[in-house]
Amino acid sequence: MSKQHVRIRINGREYQGEVEPRKLLVDFIRDDLGLTGTHVGCEHGVCGACTIVLNNETVRSCLMFAVQADGAELKTVEGLAPNATELHPLQESFWELHGLQCGFCTPGILLTAEALLKELPDPTDHEIREWISGNLCRCTGYQNIVAAIQDAAKKMEAARKSA
């Protein structure tokens, strides 16, 4: 089938492209647009590395076609930090508390954790583990990921109070 035109807003910027319908959204984001912060792991919806935010909900970008995101609003890990010199509190906490080793799973986990803290600003360890159950990490054993998300929740709570 001939290529189709798609127009997607990602991290507040508009991107366009011509894609075959079979092109996965993650491949469009990485290969066509060069936004390689989104990682691609298992390509069948198990590992969560390709997690992005589609119209305010986290989804697996390997289980969607780029044509399906035409007209949508996306956020990838590149859009998490507020500007070029500051990090998001989650990124700071992951850095400080060693919430990653190889970093392959990190983009997906950060976006999942962001969605978690929006819904549950003060989560229990159990709630964190349930939320990140769809994101596989083969390095850390998850301990420091959970600790980093807890730490970020506290930072964000403190920031809200002082605001």
Partner: protein
């Protein structure tokens, strides 16, 4: 891994969808949330020549209560069901079952209709819908019919849907007031496919006698525990009774063996879960609330 090429259709109305389905039912596939179909396409286990994407059908994305029934549009996301106050208050079994489906990212995209039409053996929604005595509205370009959950699930990944039919709505009857519920499953890791699962609904009269009982297990298709229901009805709720009902319900229960677990193991776990689920449902029931 990349899917094989296909022609992509993006209908905006159910009418348009049914026309496309009538044209391409032999070679095409309907795409709902894509959480099962797209992995199969990525691995080229599925190679549809046409993909008819249902995601622009906003008319099938709704939750409403009509004539006392919960009506769920087929393209309602599983996460919408999970978050709905109406579902939590009136049909909490559905909410509890939904929380076992995959992970948040899967439920954000996965749909109610997609899960039902896929009819995967360990899936939660088919078991919950069977227990709740739900029915499904199936529509083709020519006609519309309503099929009960029990008739709908025919075999492993096989339903009563004709090749030109689209599942458009699930209808879930209201439960007796004060009905207790429980959904339990065992999987190797959180969010994995269930090795065994069970859904239970129990209502109690003022003497804690069971006045309403429905039970279903995961299996090749959802399996009603009619034997257990017969044992439970009219009896006083007790641990001994639940043990007996669970045991009788799982005697000769049809289960499959595969790389993950033997049929014998699954039967055993179904029994254990049924006992626990009966106890939990009874504890959650309000005695004497239903008449």
């Amino acid at each position: 891994m990349k899917p094989a090429p296909f022609d992509y259709y993006e209908p905006r109305t159910v009418g348009e969808t049914l026309t496309l389905l009538a044209q391409f039912n032999e070679t095409g596939k309907l795409l709902a949330g894509g959480q099962s179909l797209v992995p199969m396409m990525n691995m080229r286990l599925a190679r549809p020549a046409q993909v008819i994407d249902l995601n622009r059908l906003s008319e099938l994305d709704y939750l409403k209560v009509e004539d006392g029934e919960l009506r769920i549009g087929a393209m309602t996301r599983q996460r919408t069901l999970e978050r709905s106050v109406v579902v939590r208050e009136g049909w909490p079994l559905l909410q509890e079952a939904t929380r076992y489906i995959g992970h948040v990212q899967i439920r954000n995209r996965g749909t109610v209709g997609g899960s039902l039409a896929h009819a995967f053996p360990s899936a939660e929604l088919p078991v919950a819908m069977t227990t709740l005595n739900a029915s499904f509205v199936l529509r083709s370009a020519q006609k519309e019919r309503v099929v009960s959950a029990q008739e709908f699930f025919v075999d492993v990944m096989t339903t009563a849907l004709d090749s030109e039919e689209l599942l458009v709505e699930a209808r879930v009857p209201r439960l007796p007031t004060g009905t207790g519920y429980s959904f339990q499953e065992v999987s190797r890791r959180h969010g994995d496919f269930a090795l065994a699962g069970v859904a239970v609904l129990l209502a109690l009269d003022t003497d804690s006698k069971i006045s309403y009982a429905r039970l279903a297990f995961t299996g090749p298709t959802p399996i009603r525990g009619a034997k257990a229901e017969a044992i439970l009805l009219g009896q006083k709720s007790s641990e001994t009774l639940f043990r007996e009902a669970a045991q009788r319900a799982t005697e000769g229960l049809e289960q499959d063996s595969d790389i993950h677990a033997s049929a014998e193991y699954r039967r055993h776990v179904c029994g254990v879960l049924a006992r626990r689920a009966c106890a939990e449902a009874a504890a959650r029931a309000t005695p004497g609330a239903s008449r």
